[in-house]
């Protein structure tokens, strides 16, 4: 068991344990902060897989962007922090049956499938070069479409979340 394996198991443990806290914690603030450790654990595994650019984007986008958004959401929608005590007991049995089915199917398929592994490919020192090249050549159209999607989502989010201010209509009434 060399250092690489130990680091893999460490990050896997951090990821799964904090994901469990996200799901099963009673306090929503704890869930939000456990999500931070999940994102960091996944980023560590990206680094182990030689995906440096993706790992840095994971930290920037998820931890820096999405998680902060989530925390704002939590703080804007909780009147009293620990009102939400109810974990659904109604659908626990069908949910656990369904989850067991999903987990069994996924793991069974992953175990049975003979994945094609290209051996002897020396991983490049950095993936940023090749990723940037592909974004600007082969995948330039999806790249631009992604930027438009982000712009539209930004506008839509601002439209949905803001208060409806219709003073002139109110004055007419």
């Amino acid at each position: 068991m060399n250092l690489y394996d130990i680091v893999f198991y460490f990050f896997a443990f951090v990821t799964l344990a904090s994901a469990g806290v996200v799901v099963f914690s009673r306090n929503i603030i704890y869930s939000a902060f456990a999500l931070l450790f999940t994102f960091f654990g996944v980023a560590g595994i990206y680094v182990l897989l030689n995906a440096d650019f993706i790992a840095v984007s994971q930290i920037l986008i998820y931890v820096g962007g999405i998680l902060v958004l989530m925390l704002f959401g939590v703080m804007l929608t909780n009147k009293v922090i620990d009102v939400e005590m109810k974990t659904g007991t109604l659908q626990t049995l069908p949910a656990s049956v369904l989850v067991a089915l999903i987990a069994g199917a996924l793991c069974g398929i992953f175990y049975v499938t003979d994945w094609k592994i290209v051996r002897g490919v020396s991983a490049p020192a950095t993936t940023t070069n090749s990723l940037g090249e592909m974004f600007m050549t082969t995948y330039s159209l999806p790249f631009e479409v992604a930027s438009i999607v982000l712009l539209v989502a930004l506008l839509g989010a601002a439209m949905i979340a803001r208060k409806d201010r219709l003073p002139q209509i109110k004055n007419q009434k």
């Binding site: 060399n2 690489y4 394996d5 893999f8 896997a12 990821t15 799964l16 994901a19 469990g20 996200v22 799901v23 929503i28 869930s31 999500l35 999940t38 994102f39 996944v42 595994i45 990206y46 182990l48 897989l49 030689n50 995906a51 993706i54 984007s57 994971q58 998820y62 962007g65 999405i66 989530m70 959401g73 929608t77 009147k79 939400e84 109810k86 974990t87 659904g88 626990t92 949910a95 369904l98 989850v99 987990a103 793991c107 994945w115 290209v118 490919v121 991983a123 993936t127 990723l131 592909m134 974004f135 999806p142 982000l150 539209v152 989502a153 839509g156 601002a158 439209m159 949905i160 979340a161």
Partner: protein, 102 residues
């Protein structure tokens, strides 16, 4: 690469996905459901990066990048919807948000 086979990464991603499904199915707070969707997206990204690394090309990471972009858009719009819901109904409990239920 290393001594860790591809299967371990893929199983990790499967377990992470399953934890996300548990959260979506059992929790009642809309924001927790939202976090669990992010967990599921992350697990898919993880498997994509693992396949990309073991296959020896970086195309899979392009797809991961697009998934991240869409996840960011989804987070922004979803949280806006949750905040609008909270303003109207004073709750984010998805059992009580049944205005469109027949």
């Amino acid at each position: 690469m290393s001594g860790i086979p591809l299967n371990y990464f893929v199983f990790l991603s499967a377990i992470l996905f399953t934890i996300g499904v548990v959260g979506v199915l059992t929790r009642r707070n809309a924001i927790i459901v939202f976090m669990c969707i992010e967990l599921m997206l992350n697990s898919v990204n993880l498997s994509l990066v693992a396949f990309s690394a073991f296959h020896g090309n970086t195309r899979g990471q392009i797809l991961v990048f697009f998934v991240m972009a869409v996840a960011a858009a989804e987070a922004a719009v979803g949280l806006a919807i949750i905040i609008a819901l909270f303003r109207n109904k004073q709750t984010v409990n998805i059992d009580e948000i049944n205005i469109m239920k027949w």
